[in-house]
Every structure is written in structure tokens, then in C-alpha cells.
Symmetry: C2
Subunit: 508 residues, 2 copies
Amino acid sequence: MDIRILLVLELGTFIRGLETTATYDPKTREFILNTPTLTATKWWPGGLAKTATHAAVMAQLWTQNKCYGPHLFILQVRSLEDHTPLPGITLGDIGDKFGYNSIDNGSMQLNNVRIPRDQMLMRHSKVTLDGTYIPPKNPRLAYGAMTLYRCQILIICSGYLARASTIAVRYSAIRRQTETKPGYEPKVLDYVTQQNKLFPHIAGAYALACTGRYMIDFGKRATERLKLEDLSVLAEVRQISDFIGYIEMLNNTYINEQNSGHIYNNWLASCTYEGENTVMYLQSARYLLRCVKNPKSAPLGVSAVLHNPPGKHWDVKNMQDLEKTNTVLEAYRARAYKKVAIADKYLRELQSGGDTSYDAWNKSGIKLVDCAKAFTHYFVIKTFFNMIEKSRLGQSCHLQLHRLSILLALHGIDQNTGDFMLDNFIDFEQIKLIRVKILELFSEIRPVAVCLVDAFDIPDQTLLSVLGRYDGDVYNKLFEWAKEAPLNKTQVHSSYDKYLRNLLTSKL
Amino acid sequence: MDIRILLVLELGTFIRGLETTATYDPKTREFILNTPTLTATKWWPGGLAKTATHAAVMAQLWTQNKCYGPHLFILQVRSLEDHTPLPGITLGDIGDKFGYNSIDNGSMQLNNVRIPRDQMLMRHSKVTLDGTYIPPKNPRLAYGAMTLYRCQILIICSGYLARASTIAVRYSAIRRQTETKPGYEPKVLDYVTQQNKLFPHIAGAYALACTGRYMIDFGKRATERLKLEDLSVLAEVRQISDFIGYIEMLNNTYINEQNSGHIYNNWLASCTYEGENTVMYLQSARYLLRCVKNPKSAPLGVSAVLHNPPGKHWDVKNMQDLEKTNTVLEAYRARAYKKVAIADKYLRELQSGGDTSYDAWNKSGIKLVDCAKAFTHYFVIKTFFNMIEKSRLGQSCHLQLHRLSILLALHGIDQNTGDFMLDNFIDFEQIKLIRVKILELFSEIRPVAVCLVDAFDIPDQTLLSVLGRYDGDVYNKLFEWAKEAPLNKTQVHSSYDKYLRNLLTSKL
């Protein structure tokens, strides 16, 4: 059975406002499902249009003339005999999308569809035979699945970034550009400006892979505890997964090369699936501010960031200091600490100035997103450093990954100098040192850059890029690939007879 | 006749390295055109694959056993009778692209194709009947056309940005999100975080339109002077158009909404056509440094930036000061001045430290791109301010555009605080003022935001977006639009009989 979670046409972050109804009928012991308005139409679920036979449907539960809010129901949507939609169920495809067009994302409207009582998912809340509603221990339990999936988004993004970097780095190692001395054109990858575009992304792919694996382990352990109805872990998992889902990459220009268009288009979806990224950042910020208010409720990791004021000045005096992961990480911690404090102070000032809590929150929006981003950056850098330190790697492999992690961290500072210079924590001389160090790292990474992307081990069949081929035989194969294009099946295209001949021979 | 300029498969910025040959044969008074290698294949020209009957071909000119470098030739590529490629000419389509797939970008290989002597474009350089070569007055004259087209890229980008903002602003004024008080979900456009994403882009579209128009006027006047063989203007046009072609938008996250995918894909091309943007920035930087060295050679506008050191500190004490265009512009001028000085100093230090001029240039790459970007930002803001000031607008229209221009400028500072805080030119207190001012501008722009995009006057037929419809009837029309999707032509898709039935009924 292929079961998909359903979203609805107009549904945003206001899940309590969804309009689909499931009304219990104690006479027949059935739920009656209805889509009362156009905007209640289910919209987007992957596979719903043409493939799925069953779906998990979120609907407002009505019983004994009272509404108990959104609950999940299992619904058979198509016949198992001939695959036609069942009576009362209207299914459709939602049309052309920016990416993922091989998935039949669907729409669904329900008209008095009856299902047996036991097709309500009743682990947490229940409706008895006579229609009595028994509430769940904790209404937030329903979000468990979405949370675990959020952790996986990281791995997915890391994969896209790995594919894009592979294509870009390999092609840059083939392609030559601009004669710099008579008869010599350097490889594009030898240009510092190109290294600046690509190397931080290689590092980013490794960092996201590490952070993703960490989060999935964390999420799985948490899910186990959830099954044991240990609810304490839920808030923490949820919030940390929010932090992480929408990272770095959003702030960076994404690598675009010919044939990586589909990577971009599919990756883009990750900014919105499981929650639009600004909304996620705001949720994370809300959690961070709660931790500021109640230091005891904050989990260890968050508390360490928010409750130890950073020193006055960054402890970096020379290039060697920039090799120390603790020192580099401290810059990110200080930034997160300050950004959270700024947002918190601003919000409280607005509230005590008489703004409603909504107005104050809205006016603080940019600062809140900023503080969540700063915390996310800190978390990714920290996890990346930790994973490298704890992994049992050979010395040379360890060295390469260490370099990548330092590059990612220093590049992040260089891209956000204003943030890190807050209260003069980092000064201009240190920024200059960072820029020199970055150039040094570029020249160290350059000789192994192709190896670093080869290590992602993405086969050509998956990469689907002529420019990013493993064997580097770009130009011959690009030519061969183009020969297969539909327009090359004929010498003279049918448009000639249809339009062009008349145009060319007319005496305009 | 449809004539297109041709690029080649491997050609980068090393135009002198192109391999196609045109060898003069004085016996028949013909040129013989050849593609000696695979990498000499012409690649990309729009319309070449299936449409064009004639092409302008760049080739190395050989006569009297000597090579005189790249020259342009007119070549008939297809029969005017039946549109088949002429003997010796192999034409093909280059295959699927990220955007512009309705254009048949083509490839071409030439094998001993003979054309009459007078099909060489001989305005500037000539080959006489006996094969004597007469050089042009100025070898750079050939770039004139590309330069004018670069000016137009601005207008094209402005158009894409206008379309994207129109869709995003209109839909944000329809879509509601998150219940902020019981029963009330605000419009997405009421959120400051959304305003922060969209309003600077509205301003950007207006700014690019102004700058584009200014540049095209400038370019046209320059072209007239070129026809009169007044060469002095060439360097200036070329460099200023380089500055402008690759702006702002590259640094900003581009607005992405459903149905604006095609806008993104087509816009992206503007980062590379007529020259890859990093290469353009580097060319601009080279020009700026030359102006530093020879103040007298610099045109008035550039000289004003580079030869008047800015004051020690920005002259902003309160919110009112942030309304003054001269004051705001001075921040951009100071940044450009400092960035150019930094790049110049760094480059000279490396050279006097013994680096070859190529190595020094390459190592300075990031700083050089930075200084060109800073100058470009300055130029756009200045032109935008000037155009608004000089236009004969009604008072209220003037006020709205003034607000947009101030927003664009202050937002740019806020996005690059580290740059503007160089040498403490702008301090933290001023940054805080800017952020307060930006929020004030958001609330002033919010009531007219939809009008500001409606004023782009893009008809629905061009916008091609259900979400961005002028009448705002988004949900009904989205539903109707989706009904037309190919997958909705049948209730049960053919894949069911082919694959799914067996899968569903098998006893796995």
C-alpha cells in the first residue's frame, strides 16, 4: 500500500484551520469525509494523482456535535480492481512544477465518503463505538514523523550539493580560460575567483552530510523514546531539526552549470517542503528565546551557547590561531549569543512599549530570523568539527577534512563580516588574517579538489551530466550527446514547411 | 536574412585562440573556411540549428601564408530552395538547455567551404584582390555590437525582476499564513520578513530599468560617434557597460515562486551571455585600476569616485539624514573608493614582492571582483537617484520612487555591513538607525506595494502565472489550470496497465 500524507490547497502553517471534515456516524460506525470548500482541496501529495491506492488524510474530527480538531484517517482512494477513483473521490494532477516533474503530485476532493471507524489512526487519540472522544496524552505527538523527515532533508541537500560540486569542480579542471602568457590558458579551477565559488561548496556538502547523519541518529533515538511515550524529548528534537533543515545553502549562491538545472530545480523544493524556511527559522527563534527565559529548560547544547557570555575580543593573533577549531567555533558561538540577545532585547522593548505580542513579534522578524540562522551556522560548524575529530580517519584524510572544515568556517565569517564584528568581537586585522588564510587553504585544497568530489562517489548514471563525466572526456561526449537531441533527427525541421518557407520567399 | 554571431565549443575569453580558419585563395578570389578540430566547432548561436539561412562567422584570417587573427565573414549556411545545409556545412542542435529551450541554439562544422572575397566584413580591415592585408585603424572596433547588447541585458534583467516581483507581491497579498489571533490569519505580505524579501526587489527592478535606459542612451550616442570613427569613446562605453551588466541581482537570492521557474531559468543565462560575469567584473576592475594610475584618462564619473578621498566618518546623525540621497550615495562612493584602493595596494604589493603579473592578478581576484561590484552598486544607486530627481513626476509618484530608491540603498548597506564599516566609516549606531529606517520604509511601502508592481503593467498573457494573476482569483484559477494538465486527460494513467497492476496484484 502506498500511503502519503496530504497537504491542502490553501493550508499554510495554520493546521488547525484546515477545512476537511470527518464526521462520526455512530449508527453505521463510520466516518463521513467531506471537502466543504474549494480551498479545502488536498493539494501536492506526491503520487496521489495517478499512483496511490490509499492515503492518510488529515481532517477536522466531528463527533457528538463537537469538533476535536485535526486527526488522521486512512482512506482507500482507488479501486484495487481497475484503479479508478472510488465514488465520491475526485483525484487530479496539480500540473507542471519547477522540479520533480516525474512525481504525480495530486489533488483530492471528497464528497460524503464513508470509511469504517477503525480507519482513524488511534494510537494517540480515540473515538469509541458510541462516538465518545478520548484525547491524546500530548497533542504534539502527531508531528513525530514530519520531524524525522526534516532530519533527512539535510542528507538530501547534501546530496544535491555534492552532485553540483562534482560537476562544477570536474568541468573546471577541464575547461581552460583566458590566455595568461603566450600560448597558455590556465584551467578555470586555477583561478582564485573560481576556487572561491566552488571550494566552500565542497566543504558545505561534507558538512551537511555530517550534520545530517548526526541528526538522523538523534532523530531515530528520539523516535524510539517517543514510542515509549517519553514525551520530554519531543520539543528538543523538533526544534533542533528546525534549526538544521534550512541552512547555509539558502544563503549561498547555488552552483549552476549546464546540466545541473534539474539539480537546482529539485533542490529548491527543500526550501519549502515540511515547512517554508522563514517560518522554520521563526519557530527556531521562538524556541531559542524560550531557552533564554528558562535556562533550566534548555538542553545542554543550547544552554552552552546562550548562557555563557563570550569574551570581549576574539582570541586570534596569527595564522596558526585560525587552525584551532575551538577558537574558530567560538566566533560562531559569540555571534549566535549576541544575535539571540539582540532579538530578545528588541522584542521585549517593543512589548513593554505597548505593542501587542503579534506586532512585536512581526516587527522583530528580521532579527529573529537572523538569530536562528546564526545558531544554525554555529550548530553545523560545531557538528562538522566534532565528527572529524571523533572519526577514525587516516592522518592525511583527517588533514584534508580539517582543512575543508576550517575553510567553511572562515569563509562563513568572511561572508558575514558585519555580524562577527559586532561589538568589535572580531576586528579588521583579524578579518585580513582570515582572508590570507583562505587563500592559503585554496592553494592547499586545489591539488586534491577533484579527489574530494570524486570521493562523493556519484556514478555518471546518477550525475547525468556530460560536463561532470568521471573520465573528463567532455567535448567529444558533449558533441555526441547533442547529436541525440530531438531536433537533430531531421536535417530540415517541420517548422520550415509550416512557416519558414513562406516567410523567406515572401516579398516583405 | 537571419544573421547570428557564432561562438565556439571551447571558446572562452581567449578569442585570439579560436581555431576556425578562413584562407584566402587569390586564384578564385575566395576564402576557404575550415573547422580543423572538434573543439573549433561553433556552438550556441541562437537560431543556427534549424532556422538561420546565413551566419556571421568569426575565423582566423590567413592570406599570403600569414595569419592576421580573427575576422568576421558572412556565410550562407542553408539552401534558399529547400533549406538543407549547403555542402561542407554540418549543422546541429546543441540539445536541452536550462532555459530558452524554444530557441534552436546550434552547432556548425565547416569543411572546405568556399565563399567570395566580398563576404568578409571589410569596414575596418580589408583583403585586396591579390591577397594583401590592410589592417584596421583600431583592432578593438569589432567589439562595438557586443557592447551595445550588454547595455540591453540590464533592461532584460529588469524585466525578469519585474515579472518575478509582480508574481510574488500579488500572491503574497492573497495568501494568508499563521493564525496570529483567534480566527485571523494575516496576509503573507503583512509580515516584515516577507517585505524584507520582496520590497528590495521591487526597488531593484525600478533601479535596473532606470540604469538600463541610461546605458542604452549612452551606448547609442557612443555608437553614433563610433560610426564617425571617433575611437576615444570606445574604452569608456565598453567598461561602463561591463560594470553594469552583472549587477545586484547576482548577489541577491532570487525570488522563486511556483510558475516563475521559467523566469529564473531564462534570467540565469544573463550571468553568462556576452561574457561570464566574473570575467566581466575582472575586466571592470582592470579598468578601474588603470584609472587610479592615470587620473587624467579617467572619465568624469569614474574620476569623481576614485580621486576624492571620502571623509573619516559618515555624516548621519538621525533618521532624517537617511532621507538625503547625497548622504546615502556618499556611503557607496566611500566603499567603492576604499575597495578599489585595497585591491590596488594588494596587487602592487604582490608584484613588488616578486610575483609574476599573472600570479599577482590571480591572487588578487577576490579583491578585484569586490571592487568592481562596489563600483557597480555605486553606479546603479547614483543613476537611480539621478533619474528620479530629474524626471518630471507628480509629487506623490516622486515620493514613492524616492522611498524605493532609499530602501534599495539602505538595504544594500544592511546586506554588506562589513564593507561599509571599513575603517569605521559607518558605525554600529548608524547601522541600527538604518535598520529602524528600513522598517519604517516597509510600513510606508506596504500600502502601495501592489500598485508598484501593477505599474510594471505586465499583462497576464506575458506573466504566465496563475499565482500572479491581475484579478487575484488565484485558487479557482489554479484549480482550473491544473485540470488542463496532460495527466488529467484520463482517470487511469497508461502506466497502470504497463506496470502498476502487476506490482499491486503480485504477492511480494
